[in-house]
Amino acid sequence: MTSDAPRPPPRRRFFGAFGRRELKGLFWQVLVVGIAVAVIVFLWSNTVTNLSARRITTGFAFLGREAGMPISDSLLAYNPRDSYLWAFAVGIANTLRVAVIGIVLATILGTVIGISRLSANWLLSRLAAVYVETLRDIPLLLQLLFWYVLMQALPAARAAWRPIEGVFLSNRGLILPAIPIGTPHLWVLGTAVLGLVVFYVIRRRLIAQQMRDGKPRPAWPFAVGLIVVVPSLVSVLLGVSWTIEWPELRGFNFVGGLTLAPEYFALLIALVTYTSAFIAEIVRSGIQSVPRGQWDAANALGLRRSFMLRQIILPQALRVIVPPMTSQYLNLTKNSSLAVAIGYQDVVSIANTTLNQTGQAIEAIALIMAVFLTISLGISFFMNWYNSRIALVER
């Protein structure tokens, strides 16, 4: 092509006739959007025909009907006579139960392993490396089936393992001592959370004042008052009991305590161990990304080790850690849908049963998508907010 020819080459005369770039762009957009719309209309009209042939009415009216499916392990009270809508709510609660606890545990375990990989102890760092490499390179579904088989191979309730007093591990799952939670407990916890928020606001103001006049103002009395004293008062006023209920074996099963069903426990272990391997790598590279000079400078200032980690190293490492961590959290949440393979009834599994019972395929899949998109957006928003808080503030 010659450099002094402003005219387009002859073979593109078709577009050349339009003359302007905008028209060409418009042509492409109309073409692509047209194809997309045509495909969607084609699929939609087929679907409508097929559905009417099978006498399935589209729409979400079926949600009000009686579900009739059993849900063995649920956080919310449920019985098969409840509606499909409530069954979905139970499924969403089950998904959140495994995802939220999984995210917390995977973050803790992953951080410990990531730091272990950087340990001066050769054996510890090697072991952490083997852990990461092994778990990352085996499909999660295979690991999940493996854990589930191990759970089923555990002894029966009567011969349950008791690693610690009050904790039982058997083919009925993991049974832990627990405090039975009622509405008054929620009031106390609510007060504590509110106290935490108020404390956070007060602390910001104290820091702002200290920035102005340089006088240090301790924040801990507020913390004690708002997070410990006030909730305790509420607890005493409402007469809330905090006695721990110990599980005990009666007949063939356990009574009391908190039971983690084998399906839930297997899913939780698989998700936590698998995701922690990825988180460990993120944490390791995050810490390694902090330049050596930062450590040296903090040492030269004579800072205490905990202060140095908290105030110098971690804030810089977190900037590298948080964005990839967000996608790991999203992955864990999406991976929790593998529950369907071992019969833990999360939202995907319940949608699948609904779909088989009612034939409302489109609605069921649309509900799954809506639930996961909402959860994903929620996590993304939270992590983006957190990320912008810790991001480098340039003056």
Partner: protein, 368 residues
């Protein structure tokens, strides 16, 4: 917790005067550098020794390696104290090739070898040219002929009899082969300055990435027949393959978009200044640079697909994991699922570990 040692340019313990036995010196520097470190080492060694000892007891000493065909009595005798590796020679043909006709199983075996050869050749830097695309097309066509047959005197085998490792490799590789060009188009669309095309691409990528693969597979297996005109239907394996391609396309598009962003602005401007058309600019200038940037993350994405193909178990397609799970339905061998899972975990691990090693070596050399 122990001190953090592996910080860039950390002064190494080896700078100290080199005296004494080198083994002792190594032990001292790496395991017993301080008292807490020493205690940790001893505890870890004890735990490790116990773990290895019980695994050796179970997996080697008390294990049963071979039994007469279809007789698991020897295995049941050692149940709980020893492994039953005998299930592997008993079932390996089914696990690896599913219900493919027994006498024809050299064909999927050859297909697996072809896949491995294709992966190996794709890692050679000297072959990263246009010819590699022809090589892929040729190899995939050859694999299709081998699997289906019906020509050159090979008997026809319909795809509902395919199973095991070839199916896993087919789902992952065809997912990549078709998802990759598609991903390039979507990535370009997402960076296009035409608003309609950009929003369509964003919508597609975010929708697919926002939902679990399981729900896409359900959609492919349950909703696809609803989408199509009455009487028109395609095979279950192909429907799952389409779902995996759509899934792969969205994830690959995001990786490629990262590469496109890494191409300096000047390159685009220079291409525009030369008067290149949009497609020629991307094909000749932008994409070659962009893709080179993202080869390590592309390999990692491929590893993820390779593992994710196992999810087709949920819609009942006979990939490696499903054949393994089916092999242990046999009542005589039911209790020995752990051994089978370890066997296929080793296969998955071998593939993924080789690829992740390769990706790491690329990352190490790409900076130079």
């Amino acid at each position: 917790m122990t001190a953090i040692a592996d910080i860039p340019e950390a002064p190494r313990a080896a700078r100290r005067p080199q005296i004494g036995n080198p083994v002792l010196r190594w032990l001292r520097a790496n395991l017993f550098s301080s008292i807490p470190n020493g205690i940790l080492s001893v505890v870890l060694l004890a735990v490790l020794a116990k773990g290895i000892f019980s695994f050796v007891q179970w997996g080697l000493v008390n294990a049963v390696w071979l039994t007469p065909a279809n007789d698991s009595s020897a295995c049941r005798a050692v149940r709980g104290v020893g492994a039953c590796w005998a299930i592997i020679p008993e079932k390996y043909r089914f696990i690896l090739f599913g219900t493919y006709p027994f006498d024809e199983q050299w064909r999927p075996a050859l297909a697996v070898l072809l896949f491995i050869a294709l992966f190996y050749l794709s890692t050679r830097r000297a072959l990263w040219r246009r010819e590699l695309a022809y090589l892929w097309i040729g190899a995939l066509a050859l694999i299709s002929v081998l699997m289906w047959g019906g020509v050159f005197g090979l008997s026809f085998v319909s795809q509902d009899r395919w199973g095991g490792l070839p199916v896993t490799l087919i789902l992952a590789t065809f997912g990549l082969a078709f998802g990759f060009p598609f991903g390039i188009l979507v990535a370009l669309g997402r960076r296009s300055n035409l608003p309609a095309i950009r929003s369509l691409s964003v919508l597609y990528v975010e929708l697919i990435r926002g939902v679990p693969l399981v729900s896409l597979l359900f959609m492919a297996s349950v909703m696809f027949p609803l989408f199509m005109p009455n009487g028109f239907n395609i095979d279950k394996l192909l429907r799952a393959q389409v779902a995996i391609i759509l899934f792969a396309g969205a994830y690959l598009a995001e990786v490629i978009r990262g590469g496109l962003q890494a191409v300096p602005r000047g390159q685009y401007e220079a291409a525009d200044a030369l008067g290149l058309s949009y497609w020629r600019k991307n094909r000749l200038i932008v994409l070659p640079q962009a893709i080179r940037h993202v080869i390590p993350p592309l390999v990692n994405t491929f590893i993820a697909f390779f593992k994710d193909t196992s999810l087709v178990l949920i819609i009942g397609i006979f990939d490696l994991l499903t054949t393994a799970k089916t092999a242990i339905i046999d009542p005589a061998w039911q209790q020995f699922s752990v051994e089978v899972y370890i066997f296929i975990a080793a296969i998955y691990f071998a593939f993924c570990f080789a690829m992740s090693r390769y990706s790491r070596s690329l990352e190490a050399t790409s900076g130079r």
